[in-house]
Amino acid sequence: MGTRLNVLMHDMVPKHQIMNDEELRTLLTDYNVAMEQLPKIYHDDPIVKAIEALPGTVIRITRKSHTAGEAEAYRLVVRRPKK
């Protein structure tokens, strides 16, 4: 048993942050969407476990993009359905 892989340290994993209520509110009004209409990510995804996000929270993902410089995406954490 070596040390557990910290996905946050990996070069190809973009920055993930848990959004606070204030940010979330502006996000939802900016895009005029309900929480359910956001893209999803499963609660047992390695990155979600690494940043300790709970189901129902929204994660901001900041990627480096060749064309856009930085691209932001948002994902709602949901519980993975069994089977």
Binding site: Y31, N32, V33, E36, Q37, L38, P39, P55, R63, S65, H66, T67, A68, A71, E72, A73, Y74, V78, R79, P81, K82, K83
Partner: protein, 885 residues
């Protein structure tokens, strides 16, 4: 139109026997359709209350005419229950997880509580599965010993237990199963994911069978006046007949054995009525031996209801025929045969302004004599939507004069197609949006669609028998959209890579290469001949005057079709990437310099004008727009076709001839290579071969042999290439990028080389050898698929065999690739078809769910960016400095 509604919830349930009876209008008991006089039997399968199919009659149930009456269901009371084949898996699961005595779930009360608790959790979609329940245990509720339930396809269930060490099987009848399922309480079903209010499990065992309306299974009357019934009707006749017999036997108190046989027969007929392709069940057949098309077969598969009738339908106002090339058309035009133009129409509303004009269309009628004549009309439509079909000729049907005199403002006239109308043109498979583009039509003789060969790449069309489809938009709105969004000129740039997809092909590239290569001089007559069809007004000052005769250079001629002010510096396809570039002085004339719309140096070839490359076109689009680019394509294709005709271009068998010296050199070279191979084999056999890292000695030998032979083949190509210069047509095509490569030329003139299967020499065949012509364990070049002959010299029988092996691999690969990528494409399109970019730049589904927060993460249209960059800085700098940077 009602506003779209959001679906809150969908229930998927079963029809209960009560439901079936409630919607039934007729209990069907008579196993026949029509009597000898052609009247339907009452209580028969064609009972008039089940709906009408004969025109003129009225439905006995709803009183509507054929076409308006949707048909009504009937029912058959089954003598004994039978299993519905579609639910056998559900039945099996339920039999295995519930008690055979009390019907409760085979779980401890606390386990049930655990699952019921999960039910409350909105995030959980958990249900109990077969795996959660241990087999053959005792029921925790009534302490009854459980038995293993075996299922045999298609519809047999058996209980198995061991008695005195022997396995005993007991068949469960549908009635037994139904009784067991009836005992399962609603609350236990909830945990299994079944809502008992809409789907009680015992409803999967049929006690009453619904009879579909006659509109769903119409009988057809054959030419000889005989009625031919639908497959479903045939099957229902079988079911009723057996059902009646069953009932009679039952009432007569027949022995158990006979009852069981009849029961099984009834089960078979009901099973095949639902699905005639169940495993373990011989399909029910028509008298002719053709398997019947029953319920499930109507829905399933490519021609089934979903893929065949709902996702895809047949359309009106469309035409299909063979395509053929016509380089004299513009890329945005489409030549159509008169027969199609006469058949297809566009509706035109009659107004005060156009009534006289349309009257004339009506007077011409449906038969336009020649394509020079003005177009006619096929229908006149009155304001009450009544269509009057126009008849021409001079027979009694001729109604042109009459209709023309009746014509008034407010009518609509279906006018035939004429030059300049906009149509959509399509070739399957429609893999990208450029597979459907709009063209302006041009009437032409003969019976094929004619298109400019330069638009072949987006359609992926050729003229070896391809057929294409044409659609005629019927409203002003549709025509405007087709013209503004789907026209050829709007689709020159492909969103796939942001570059032009329309451009010169084959002869266009050879022609423009021959024209612009090095320096040639043309007299005024010749220059004008070349530019005859190009859209230019005057010739420039002659490049030189000799003996009082003015000459124009080939580069001047080409420059005429370029827009003024175009500045470009780049290298052509024929550039060999020399370490030291000589720029303008390149001996291959591969360094292109265009200054202010004048070609100063360089040869125009695939990189400049070809489809998928088209550097010049790309620049014209960026600087002057798509309209100018279309003009340029038309000029360029016409100039290049004229050039190739003027200069002359042909290819024959003796174009691959080499001289005696070259043949000697090639022979010596191949001999040498084969000796080299023998030498390496000897080293290997002596065990002296040093294996490469990570490889065995055999692998190393194989690699070395492949390498030696590959190099030898390439060298024969060099020898051939030295002999064949730009005077050779194949070389011109390869160098310009029009078609073929130097490798193809090598194989024709020099040596075909090693044939391979999966990248290795051919080793399959007999023990230790590929063919009986060789010695066993011969490792030599010839024995494993090396072909030293060329296509020109002809190949030996063994070589031919190896060539066929290698060729087959290529064919298999393409066949597999196309089917796999086709399926992948279908799945992608099904998943993505309704996504759209919203006004805020997000990509969303129809439900407003966000897929991307910015289209492509950068919100950029690939056709509007310079190969990934927002601005083509290098190109702009170069065009200002007129120098390469």
């Amino acid at each position: 139109m009602p506003s779209p509604k959001r679906i809150g919830k969908l229930d998927f349930g079963l029809l209960s026997p009560k439901d079936v009876r409630k919607m039934s209008v007729c209990k069907v008991i008579w196993p026949d359709t029509y009597d000898d006089d052609g009247f339907p039997y009452s209580k028969g399968l064609m009972d008039p209350s089940l709906g009408v199919i004969d025109p003129g009659l009225r439905c006995r149930t709803c009183g509507q005419k054929s076409g308006d009456c949707p048909g009504h269901f009937g029912h058959i009371d089954l003598a004994k229950p039978v299993i519905h084949v579609g639910y056998t898996r559900l039945i099996r699961k339920l039999l295995r997880v519930t008690c055979r005595n009390c019907g409760r779930l085979l779980l401890e009360p606390q386990e049930i509580d655990k699952f019921s608790a999960l039910e409350e959790d909105p995030f959980s979609t958990d249900v109990v599965s077969e795996k959660d329940i241990k087999k053959e245990r005792v029921c925790p509720h009534c302490a009854d010993q459980q038995m293993k339930v075996n299922f045999e396809k298609p519809t047999t269930f058996m209980e198995v237990w061991t008695e005195d060490g022997r396995k005993v099987e007991h068949k469960l009848t549908p009635a037994d199963i139904r009784a067991r399922l009836e005992r399962v309480p609603d609350d236990d079903l909830r945990i299994l994911g079944i809502d008992a209010t809409v789907a009680r499990p015992e409803w999967t065992i049929l006690t009453v069978l619904s009879v579909p309306p006659v509109t769903m299974r119409p009988s057809i009357i054959l030419e000889n006046g005989q009625r031919s019934e639908d497959d479903l009707t045939h099957k229902l006749v079988d079911i009723i007949r057996i059902n009646q017999r069953f009932k009679e036997n039952q009432d007569a108190g027949a022995p158990q054995l006979i009852i069981e046989d009849l029961w099984e027969l009834l089960q078979y007929h009901v099973t095949t009525y639902m699905d005639n392709e169940v495993a373990g069940c011989p399909p029910a057949r028509h008298r002719s031996g053709r398997p019947l098309k029953t319920l499930s077969q109507r829905l399933k598969g490519k021609d089934g209801r979903f893929r065949g009738s709902l996702s895809g339908k047949r359309v009106n106002f469309s035409a299909r025929t063979v395509i053929s090339p016509d380089p004299n058309l513009s890329v945005s035009e489409l030549g159509i045969p008169l027969a199609i133009a006469n058949e297809m129409s566009i509706p035109v509303r009659v107004t005060r302004e156009n009534i006289e004009e349309l009257r004339e269309r009506i007077l011409v009628g449906p038969e336009r004599p020649t394509m020079r004549d003005p177009c006619g009309a096929n229908y006149a439509i009155r304001p009450d939507k009544r269509r009057l079909r126009l008849h021409g000729g001079s027979g009694p049907l001729d109604n042109r004069e009459m209709v023309a005199s009746m014509l008034e403002v407010g009518w609509t006239v279906d006018r035939q197609l004429r030059d300049g109308d906009i149509v959509l043109f399509n070739r399957q498979p429609s893999l990208h949006r450029m597979s459907i583009m709009s063209h302006r039509i041009k009437l032409m003789g003969d019976r094929t669609f004619r298109l400019n060969p330069a638009v072949c790449p987006p359609y992926n069309a050729d003229f070896d028998g391809d057929e294409m489809n044409m659609h005629v938009p019927q409203t002003e709105e549709a025509r405007a959209e087709a013209f503004l969004l789907a026209s050829v000129q709007e689709n020159i740039l492909s969103p796939r890579f942001g570059g032009p997809i329309i451009g010169g092909i084959h002869d266009h590239i050879s022609g423009i290469f021959l024209l612009t290569h090095e320096t040639q001089w043309f007299t005024k007559k010749d220059a004008l001949y070349l530019l005859k069809h190009a859209n230019i007004d005057f010739l420039p000052k002659p490049g030189k005057v000799e003996d009082g005769i003015a000459y124009w250079s080939n580069k001047q001629v080409f420059s005429q079709i370029l827009p003024r002010g175009l500045n470009m510096v780049y290298r052509a396809t024929s550039c060999k990437n020399c370490p030291e570039c000589k720029n303008d002085l390149c001996e291959r004339d591969a360094f292109i310099r265009i200054i202010d719309g004048d070609l100063i140096a360089g040869t125009i070839d695939k990189k400049s004008v070809g489809a998928f490359d088209g550097a010049i076109m790309n620049r014209i689009i960026r600087e002057q727009g798509l309209g100018r680019a279309r003009q340029y394509i038309d000029d360029m294709t016409k100039l290049s076709i004229r050039s190739i005709m003027f200069i002359g271009f042909s290819f024959g068998i003796d174009d691959e001839d080499l001289s005696r010296t070259e043949y000697g050199q090639i022979r010596d070279l191949l001999d040498e290579a084969e000796v080299d191979v023998e030498k390496r084999i000897r080293i290997y056999n002596d065990g002296q071969l040093e294996p490469m890292p990570g490889r065995t000695a055999e692998e190393t030998l194989e690699m070395q042999i492949m390498q030696v032979l590959g190099k030898a083949r390439d060298k024969t190509g060099d020898i051939a290439g030295r002999h064949l210069g730009l005077g050779n047509s194949a070389v011109v095509m390869a160098v310009s990028g029009a078609r073929g490569s130097m490798l193809n030329l090598t194989q024709m003139a020099g040596c075909i080389g090693q044939q391979s299967v999966r990248g290795e020499r051919i080793v399959r065949g007999y023990e230790g050898r590929t063919l009986p012509h060789f010695k066993k364990y011969d490792q030599g070049a010839g024995a494993h698929g090396f072909i030293r002959n060329s296509y020109k010299s002809g190949i030996s029988p063994t070589e031919f065999f190896f060539h066929a092996i290698g060729g087959r691999e290529g064919l298999v690969d393409t066949a597999v690739r196309t089917s796999q990528s086709g399926y992948l494409q279908r799945r992608l399109i099904n998943a993505l078809q309704d996504l759209k970019v919203a006004y805020d730049g997000t990509v969303r589904t129809t439900g407003g769910r966000i897929i991307q927060f910015q289209f492509g993460e950068d919100g950029t249209d690939p056709t509007k960016s310079a190969f990934g960059d927002p601005v083509d800085v290098k190109g702009i700098v170069e065009s200002v400095l007129k120098e390469e940077v």
